[in-house]
């Protein structure tokens, strides 16, 4: 068992797959010799060389177009979009081309590719380098979407994403890059579409994702001290969505709170809340409550950004109030 940072786990996960399978290539801006702007891919260029780890021009459409063309002809590319906000300049390739072409061609083609990207806030970068865009990706039929919350899951979900025969949008919470966690030795391969229960409680269930997972866990500790014992579910994979785990854990406690980094409107928790309302309504002891970033572009100043993103304090007070009303 080694302790790795979330950022080191990225390189470890990619390297695990590139060693195993020559059809796995990696491309993006500054990913090679520079090791990535977040230093998430240090060492890959040295180990796999410039043919398999390719630096690209600042051409997001070309990066993802190239990944798509390579995938349809038998390779398994991993493409990096530096900041998830930049999906907006290549969204056609993601939403119209990669996502739709298998269906439109009646299954003639598959797109086994991974698009990884630094997602979300916490670094005071301002509105164009901080948005949490998992709901953009989630609402496009034909895309799978995962968001790991810890170094072990980075490795395991990366392996699952690379080995999957469908396109996977792999969103890394930027603010988690320096965080550490235990990662077992040897190969780690997770399954997409599996949520994990990180904490078991009896009073309320919190479903959460990515950067919000450590905050939800910290909030659960505080709430427990005040007599509210929470289950915490790390959703991990938005598509496919492990609805059964969420429903089961919600029914067990009778209350569901979602903690989401994405802006409020049509965030992933809205879909979860609607599923729970339809399928577990009679197990609920109170309304489903969503704790999200407000529906605003993210501000840059540390004080403002901290107000915007769900904090441990906001999670605690929201749940406390809801449970005592």
């Amino acid at each position: 068992m080694a302790e790795l940072t979330y950022r080191e786990a990225i390189a470890r996960g990619i390297a695990q797959e590139m060693r195993r399978d020559e059809s796995v290539l990696f491309l993006g801006e500054d990913v090679g010799a520079a090791g990535g702007v977040f230093k998430g891919t240090v060492g890959l260029f040295e180990e796999f060389g410039p043919v398999r780890v390719r630096d690209t021009p600042i051409s997001e459409q070309a990066i993802l177009g190239a990944a798509m063309g390579a995938a349809m002809t038998g390779l398994r590319p991993i493409a990096e979009i530096m900041f998830a906000d930049f999906f907006a300049v290549c969204w056609d390739i993601v939403a119209n081309e990669i996502a739709k072409t298998r269906y439109m061609t009646n299954g003639q083609m598959s797109f086994p590719l991974v698009i990884r990207s630094g997602n979300g806030g916490g670094l005071r970068f301002g509105a164009q380098h901080s948005q949490s865009v998992e709901n953009w990706a989630m609402m496009i039929p034909g895309l799978k979407v995962v968001v790991p919350s810890n170094p072990r899951d980075v490795v395991g979900l990366m392996a699952a994403a690379v080995r999957d025969d469908d396109p996977v949008v792999f969103l890394e919470s930027k603010a988690l890059y320096p965080t550490k966690g235990e990662v077992p030795e040897g190969e780690i391969v997770d399954a997409l579409g599996t949520a994990t229960v990180l904490r078991q409680g009896s009073h309320a269930t919190i479903a959460t994702l990515g950067l919000m997972v450590p905050r939800a866990l910290a909030a659960a500790e505080e709430l427990a001290a005040g007599g509210i014992d929470c289950t915490v579910v790390d959703v991990r994979s938005l598509i496919p969505l492990d609805t059964q785990t969420i429903l089961r854990e919600t029914s067990a406690t009778g209350r569901l709170f979602t903690v989401e980094e994405n802006p409020r409107v049509l965030g992933w928790g809205a879909e979860v809340a609607s599923i729970v309302a339809e399928e577990a309504f009679y197990d609920l002891d109170g309304p489903v409550v969503r704790i999200t970033t407000p529906h605003i572009p993210l501000p840059a100043a540390d004080t403002l950004e901290d107000m915007a993103l769900p904090s441990v304090e906001r999670i605690v007070t929201t749940i406390h109030k809801a449970m005592n009303s």
Partner: protein
Amino acid sequence: MTTTEASPVHDVDFKLELYRSQVALRRFESRAYDLFLENYVKGTSHLSIGQEAIAAGVAAAMRPDDWTFATYRGHAHTLARGVAMTPVFAELMGRANGLMAGKGGSMHLTSVEHGVMGSYAIIGAHLPIACGAAWSAQYRGTDQVAVVFFGDGTVNIGAFHEALNFAAIWKLPVVFVCENNLYMEYTRTSEVTAVAHPAADRAAAYGLEPIIVDGNDADAVYEVARTAIERARAGEGPSLIEAETYRHGGHSRADPGKYRPDEEVAFWTSAERDPVSRYRARLVELGVDEATLARVEADVDAEVDAATEAAKAGAAPGEDLLMKDVWANGGAEWRN
């Protein structure tokens, strides 16, 4: 540029085949137009009437395992690679015996087994995708070439420029074929483009030679494509070809194309400019007898008729197709 073998373009049998291919594209498209007017083809369709020499000439220069990337105006490019008429008609009509069982429609014709790696309806998107296929061929050392067709209007979208630069820096085996038919949908491309030759004048920006070819002369198209494809196969990188042509009809559906001056239409549709009549005259000049040409034309007509009927006989796609093939496992499940 290297030309390794003598060109077959001087061979009469080769020419006769190229003629047959152009006649097939012409008559397929004419029938598709009729079927649209008869409401058999719903939605939309974009015809290549007047531009057949490009699809036919380039396809003749491709190896069976090379890849075509086409646009929504892609019936001709698909058929030219050897795809049968019946599934293409049927796809236009939304039938279960369609090329994609009715799930793609006229704008997305795809036949992987023929190297037709899709027809794309977002302007410019398929240029970077073709680069990716070429990158894959380069990495795997298969010496396959990707050929990507697009229009004159497409040179003003960002994806064009990203793809050209990308192909140039990685020396990718990709051939970019711009079919300059002078118009976008309803606007003359020259009115909205900074340079006179939309593709060729941009070539220098990517370190490429400007190549302009008479797109209504299948032999000329074939020769220029052959050279570009050989170059790509030899690892010498991409080429950008601008083929000058004209669509005889409107942009799509039943557009009468009234935004174009009469003299211009008359010039381009004249027997001297029309690629099919021109090619026929060339064959006559070379001594091919009338009976041979008439037989080629009659065979094509019979093929078009039979394919029309076979397509019409197809069933409507069933509900089983609706939730199929979103994912590689064949299904559409997004949750458990």
